[in-house]
């Protein structure tokens, strides 16, 4: 025993220099490495990144306007004519776009001018280009998903971390409230709330500048925070008394340092996994509400609305299959990719599997 503590001079330096050669690997490096090795999940990540980029840049792409009615061109089946991929006839009519989107449309007009893509995926009952509607619809769906998820993230993480960190009676009461909220079938309450909000939409818009969609995001976010709060609280609770926190405390780290440097990164992995699973759930919920006529309203497009158009197009006389298949394909692929990515991330970030495979 005595010899081991007797390291001095050269011996110690040797040992230290040897230690230097070992490079530690952070949780994130390890997770990234393992995610890349999971082919399916990584492919999904790439797909989603490209997809998000495309939908972000949609106004600058040479797509027809998603709302231009061409009444002599309705229910045109999908066809790709390689001799005329682009056709002239672009008309600049959109709903009220934001400043950035307007500039992107300016750019589009400057670059492509009058040219737009031919209706590769066909047109709907009002002669609107389906491809353009799917791409513009993805913007709405992604925006709803991100905004609502962000809402749930902020509420859920702060609520859960607070409950877990304070502990004791406060934790008990806070989690009991979550339990109560859990047992309410929220969709009914949300529909009820949205009905009532609709009643005041003009006031909300004029006086507070809150439009219906903002309310929509907040309401959806406000239901999805429950699971997040539980997950975070459980993590914080189990980590609060763990050895590395104790060790940090012994070394003399402040509470803030313990929380932000030691606890938060550990909770973050679980939160990220849960986020990738919340986003598809929220997208589904948006589609669900839009389907019922309570979500996004025309002239704006969302995937839920496209699905409504599609199911309305199902009739025995003339089957407009493309109106069902392509929006479903877009939505299905995105949600599938998000689910696979979420599962892959869960595996990659699972500390039990760390350093293995």
């Amino acid at each position: 025993m005595a010899e081991r503590w007797d390291l001095k001079g050269r011996d110690l330096e040797l040992l230290l220099s040897e230690a230097e050669t070992y490079k530690g690997e952070s949780l994130w490096q390890d997770a990234w490495r393992r995610l890349r090795r999971n082919r399916a999940a990584f492919a999904c990540l790439v797909f989603l990144a490209l997809f998000a980029l495309g939908s972000l840049l949609a106004p600058a792409l040479p797509l027809p306007s998603p709302v231009t009615l061409t009444l002599d061109d309705e229910y045109r089946p999908p066809a790709v004519d390689f001799s005329a991929l682009l056709v002239p006839g672009f008309r600049r009519d959109y709903w009220e776009l934001g400043w950035i989107d307007e500039r992107m449309v300016d750019l589009r007009v400057a670059v492509f001018g009058d040219w737009q893509t031919a209706p590769w995926l066909g047109t709907d009952g009002k002669g609107r280009d389906l491809l353009s509607r799917i791409v513009w619809g993805s913007r709405t769906s992604i925006l709803v998903a991100l905004a609502a998820t962000l809402c749930s993230l902020i509420i859920g993480v702060s609520y859960g971390a607070m409950a877990g960190f304070l502990g004791g009676r406060i934790d008990n009461v806070m989690m009991r409230i979550v339990d109560i909220l859990y047992s309410i079938p929220f969709i009914f309450v949300v529909i009820f709330l949205i009905t009532i909000v609709n009643e005041y939409r003009t006031e909300l818009e004029d006086q507070f500048g809150i439009n219906r969609e903002t309310v929509f995001y907040v309401v959806i976010g406000a239901i999805y925070w429950l699971t997040m709060a539980r997950v975070v609280r459980g993590q914080v609770l189990s980590l609060r008394n763990s050895e590395f926190v104790e060790a940090a405390r012994v070394v003399g780290a402040s509470t803030a340092r313990i929380v932000f440097i030691h606890l938060v990164p550990n909770v973050l992995s679980v939160v990220i996994v849960y986020l990738t699973l919340t986003i598809p759930a929220v997208m589904l919920f948006e589609a669900f509400l839009s389907f019922l006529g309570l979500g996004i309203e025309p002239p704006k497009v969302s995937w839920g609305l496209l699905a409504v158009d599609g199911t309305e197009g199902i009739n025995p006389i003339k089957l407009d299959w493309w109106l069902v298949v392509f929006p479903a394909l877009a939505m299905g692929l995105t949600l599938l990719a998000l689910n696979v990515l979420g599962d892959g991330l869960r595996d990659a970030l699972d500390p039990k599997l760390r350093g293995k495979d």
């Binding site: 339990d179 109560i180 047992s183 079938p185 009820f192 699905a307 069902v324 949600l335």
Partner: protein, 326 residues
């Protein structure tokens, strides 16, 4: 055990009270009464209608009227002559519908709930049979082609919204093959497609849960013992493994039922099924507040009691779990 049930009941009462109170006051706070239509009513008529539904009472009095069998009347608060327009939520009476003038909310629910329940049952049956079989199969053939295919199918089932699945089903089975009627309600044949579309996401989820549960159980020592003593593989699976592997599925049944109730909002609309869900959606767009509140309360009760039942069943299946801890 009785303590557990009592405690559950207490929390349930509190939950329900909060839901009823908040939604009641929200409903009454909304500008424009339920009878505001396109044309303005004659003042006298409006006064009469309001009097009929007691909308001219002070709001707190209306609240007590809505809540329960208090003896309210025109003059005083309590101690009236007992002529109440309706019994109140506590007696299970949700009052008159504001839009369907000749119906009470209870009438509408009584007509439509059996429809929704039968649809939900069909969906749940589908989900269970399909989910359990595919789950067990993919656990047994772990890592092989069957397993991979089934898992991909399950992920797709979870990812696709049920109305999209419904659209595909209609195209395939109604227009291409002509096996089922496109919509409506009346016979079991009407319920096959909507039941399947409604149950599909839950079947997918149940398959996943069963697979995970089975895999965990199959690696246990007692399964090896069963194999070692020469029991037929089929019996090992059916008699020994399945019971343990089913546990996660049982605990999922509560949320699944709630989800099926919710999903039926959309499915009933697509297939034109006159269930509670479609009434609820209509009530939301019609501003028929009593109806939409009644359905909300009803579903809260349903979901909560089902969840309690599931928790209860869980302890019977798994003796390691005690109710007191939950």
């Amino acid at each position: 055990m009785i303590g557990f049930l009592l405690r559950r009941l207490l929390w349930f009462a509190i939950t329900l009270w909060i839901v009823v109170t908040v939604s009641f006051f929200l409903m009454r706070a909304v500008r424009g009464g339920p009878f505001d239509g396109e044309r303005t009513l004659n003042e006298a008529i409006e006064r009469n209608i309001k009097a009929r539904y007691h909308l001219d009472w002070p709001i707190l009095k209306q609240y007590f009227q809505y809540i329960g069998p208090f003896n309210l009347d025109e003059r005083g608060w309590f101690g009236g002559d007992g002529t109440r327009p309706f019994g109140g939520v506590l007696t299970g009476d949700f009052g008159p519908s504001f839009k369907y003038r000749d119906f009470t909310v209870n009438d509408i629910i009584a007509q439509s709930l059996p429809v929704s329940v039968s649809l939900g049952m069909v969906a749940l049956m589908w989900a269970l049979t399909l989910g359990l079989t595919t789950g067990v199969l993919s656990a047994i053939y772990r890592g092989r082609g069957v397993d991979v295919a089934l898992r991909l199918l399950a992920t797709a089932g979870i990812a696709l919204p049920n109305f999209v699945i419904a659209g595909f089903l209609i195209i395939l089975f109604v227009f291409e093959l002509d096996w089922f009627p496109v919509a409506g309600y009346g016979s079991l044949r009407h319920l096959v497609l909507p039941g399947f579309a409604l149950g599909a996401p839950f079947a997918a989820y149940i398959a996943r849960l069963t697979r995970t549960g089975m895999l965990e159980v199959l690696s246990q020592d007692y399964i090896r013992t069963a194999h070692a003593k020469g029991l037929a593989p089929r019996l090992v699976i059916l008699r020994h493994a399945l019971k343990g592997g089913l546990l996660p599925v049982v605990s999922y049944l509560g949320p699944a039922t709630a989800g099926i109730l919710t999903g039926s909002l959309v499915i009933e609309r697509i297939f034109a099924i006159p269930g509670t869900g479609s009434h609820f959606v209509n009530s939301a767009t019609n501003r028929d507040y009593t109806l939409s509140m009644g359905v909300t309360i009803l579903y809260t009760v349903l979901v909560y009691s089902l969840n309690t039942l599931v928790d209860f069943a869980y302890t019977l299946l798994d003796p390691r779990i005690r109710l007191e801890e939950s």
